[in-house]
């Protein structure tokens, strides 16, 4: 259902209805008090020319000059053990590029010999590009009915879930990547207490990612449902549409605006626990519709992942251990070659005697793949990283230098240390080494040959100083990464090298009180990077500094400066960010300026964001 009027109505409704009337008014149903909670969150964007346009490129031209209002309205009513909740998302694009104008601009710039042919080609491409971007939608992004009492929790509708450390299943909200995936179906958890606790979890249904990407304005259209379950779970969700440039037929693969064929999953976990231990067995089976992208993962008709985990808390006074052994089997179509099952071992040890915190994390994965969503990459590349599990990387949470499918065929470990030298003075350090066979070329079979080998070394060292009242804080970390390929790599100039990737970086954070409730902060990261195969062809620097002033919990001001010395991209970016909390339950934030394009990663799930130049206003209220 497309709804421009509704898009306007929601923020107006939130703004104009007196807040007193919207305040929580507990009533009762059959004698049971009902608590109602309403969250309203709106974002208003306008994207100017983000300076990433290149000659003849339609997508980078189509991401200029668009504006949107994105609304998320959530309501939950709770009566005793029962909760009923719904979240409605709607987007209204009040400004968007015009296909003809995009084609005209590109034609005028390129001045090709065959201008009519070029124009027609760019018009077709722009029309196709815009067929699943900047479309107004309103849809029920999440809804659920939950019954909860000690020892039992049952949900019908949307539920998030993580089993073990996420190898088997991890569907949840990831704000940094703008994703919030749930399972739309049923979930039951039964638990018992005692000397040996038992928890049983079973869930199943269709995977339900957010369908609209705010950064690009792209949406995921689904085909007409193939059966009654699909009809139920996809009711009211954004559909594939027909446009002047994009035909629509019964075959999702042949319909350009059909970007997602909902995957189905069943999963479960049996967990035993004692005072200092936990033993978990978990598994998931992912079932596919016909693949919308022809690759090993999306072509698999079924992906079965099982794991056994052990957690030992304080096995020695200061030592805790965790281990998870996983197995994965892909059922390929009958005409596809068989692939060997995959497996993986993730382990961590945490040693925390007085004044020391040591963490050792290791991984050994062979053909252990992400449960990638059945997304049509050719038409909805922004959703390429959508997956239903998260295989731990053991690296820094925001590490963005694991290339290609490094994490699917890798062995190695990372040791982190945090040493308190004296009160308020800490030394920080980390050291890691990985051997991977899937970074400098596709290697789904995980052949462990010298040709596929990359050796990665990563080290960092720094210190943190804190005043006795913790009001002042300084942290500085220096680090580097060396990634060396086993084979000779061909460089752009024809020479050869083993150095696949190198980086040196500095991170710092300074927090100082100014006076009263005011404080000052300076946070930054600076990197010097070089990539042998692909990339810009020359070493480059990039980084950012953010200078902040905060007024207790009420308001903050941030001034940001970023730089990127890669040839062919703008080198400087400036921005300002203001945030204010008029009341404890409301927040308003304004971002204005420029932000460079970058690959942003969270725990190994990465997404390439285009540069942003414009204004963003966020409003959030809770009633």
């Amino acid at each position: 259902m497309r709804g421009l009027p509704f898009a306007l109505a929601l923020p107006l409704w939130a703004a104009l209805v007196p807040s007193r009337a919207l305040a929580l008014e507990p009533g009762s149903v059959v004698g049971t008090p009902v608590l109602v909670e309403v969250n309203e969150s709106s974002s208003l964007y306008y994207n100017f020319d983000n300076r990433d346009s290149k000659p003849s490129q339609v997508p980078t031209r189509a991401n200029d000059g668009f504006g949107l209002i994105y609304n998320r309205l959530s309501a939950q009513a709770t009566a005793g053990s029962v909760s009923l909740g719904v979240r409605v998302d709607n987007v209204w694009f009040y400004a968007s590029p015009n296909a003809t104008q995009v084609a005209l601009d590109l034609t005028n710039e390129a001045r090709p010999a065959n201008a009519p042919g070029y124009f027609r080609s760019k018009l077709d491409e722009a029309g196709l590009e815009l067929s699943n971007r900047f479309i107004d939608w309103v849809y029920p992004s999440k809804y659920y009915l939950t019954y909860s009492r000690p020892g039992l929790e049952a949900t019908l509708g949307d539920a998030s879930a993580q089993l073990g450390r996420g190898i088997v299943l991890s569907v949840r909200k990831r704000d940094e990547l703008g994703s919030d995936t749930t399972i739309r179906g049923a979930r039951v958890t039964v638990s018992s207490r005692g000397p040996v606790g038992l928890k049983l979890t079973a869930l199943g249904g269709e995977l339900n990612p957010l369908r609209i990407d705010e950064a690009s304005g792209r949406y995921l259209g689904v085909p007409s449902s193939r059966d009654s379950l699909g009809t139920l779970t996809e009711a009211g969700m954004p559909r594939a549409i027909r446009t002047d440039f994009a035909p629509l037929n019964a075959d999702c693969q042949a319909s350009p605006t059909c970007g997602y064929a909902p995957d189905r999953i069943t999963a479960g976990q049996v967990e035993f626990s004692g005072e200092r231990w936990k033993l978990g067995t978990q598994g998931s089976a992912l079932f596919r519709a016909a693949p919308l992208s022809e690759d090993l993962l999306r072509s698999a008709q079924r992906m079965l992942t099982l794991s056994q985990s052990v957690e030992l808390a304080r096995v020695l006074p200061d030592l805790s251990l965790y281990g998870e052994l996983a197995y994965q089997h892909l059922t390929e179509p009958a005409d596809a070659p068989r692939s060997d099952p995959g497996y993986g071992l993730y382990a961590s040890a945490s040693y925390t005697p007085e004044d020391v915190a040591l963490t050792l994390e290791g991984r050994h994965y062979r053909r252990l793949f992400p449960l990638a969503a059945n997304v049509k990459l050719a038409r909805a590349g922004e959703f390429a990283s959508l997956a239903y599990n998260q295989v731990p990387t053991t690296e820094l949470e925001d590490n963005d230098t694991e290339y290609e499918r490094m994490n699917t065929c890798v062995s190695g470990a990372r040791l982190r240390g945090d040493f308190t030298l004296r009160r308020g003075v800490r030394a920080l350090g980390s050291l890691s080494h990985y051997v991977t066979y899937a970074e400098s070329g596709a290697n789904e079979a995980c052949a462990t040959t010298a040709q596929q080998l990359n050796r990665v070394y990563d080290a960092s060292s720094g210190f943190a100083l804190d005043s006795s009242d913790r009001a002042k804080h300084l942290e500085v970390v220096l680090g580097g990464r060396l990634d060396r390929a086993g084979r000779e790599l061909k460089l752009g100039d024809g020479s050869e090298s083993h150095l696949f990737y190198t980086e040196a970086y500095l991170r710092h954070q300074l927090e100082l009180p100014i006076s009263g409730d005011f404080s000052f902060s300076l946070t930054g990261r600076h990197r010097r990077r070089a990539q042998a195969e692909g990339g810009p062809g020359v070493p480059w620097s990039e980084g950012e500094e953010v200078l902040g002033v905060e007024w207790a919990e009420h308001s903050s001001l941030g001034l940001g400066a970023e730089y990127d010395t890669r040839p062919g991209v703008p080198h400087r970016y400036f921005n300002i960010e203001l945030s204010h909390r008029p009341t404890p339950s409301s927040r308003i934030a304004l971002f204005a300026g420029q932000r460079r394009g970058a690959l942003r990663c969270v725990g190994g799930i990465c997404r390439l964001y285009p540069p942003f130049e414009g204004v963003r206003l966020d409003l959030a209220m809770r009633f």
């Binding site: 923020p11 104009l16 050719a378 789904e444």
Partner: protein, 216 residues
Amino acid sequence: MFARFAAAGLAASLTLGCGSNAPEVPEELLASGPGCAAPDYPADGVGTETGDVVKNACFVGYRAPDRVAPSAAHRETIAFSDYYDPAGTKGVSLLLLNTAAIWCSACVAEHGNLPARATELGPQGLVILSSLFEDGQKHPASVDDLERWIANFHTNFPMVADPYLYLGPYASTALAPLNMVVDPRTMKILRKYVGDQGSVMWPYIESELKARSAAR
């Protein structure tokens, strides 16, 4: 307070959003240009998805860069229609359309292996036609870039420069490489692979070549 913020935001959005009429297209762009004419090339069912006919396009490049040294004197115009083979008389059993860019590490890795594939499967009727579309800075690839690429990778199959991104409509260039397996009898797209998907693409090509050989 919230109402004031919302009203200001709404006013700003309406101001920014008004007045987006379709522009006028100059007459000369609506005329039929010199084009890439191939009268026999299929005109029905042209599109960008699996099952659609690939639109004909012309490029500058080298048809046999391993036999004729790439240089200004040897540049040729190469079109998809050159490989259209409805009667099976050109000896093309399967056409693989590939894209590459200098900034794309997966393309670099893929092209390390493509010449060997061309040598192995060429005699069975596979023709690889690759297009280089951008340089390291994502600017349009020049024919000079193409010549350096061919020299670096010892390319032994037809390769062209695509500075105008005529293959752009088939998949976002940000996710390069793109590989499309095309039936030369109809020029219909049989399979479309985004990214270096060799583990599923090559078995499909091999089985398809076998099937076509057996059907002959």
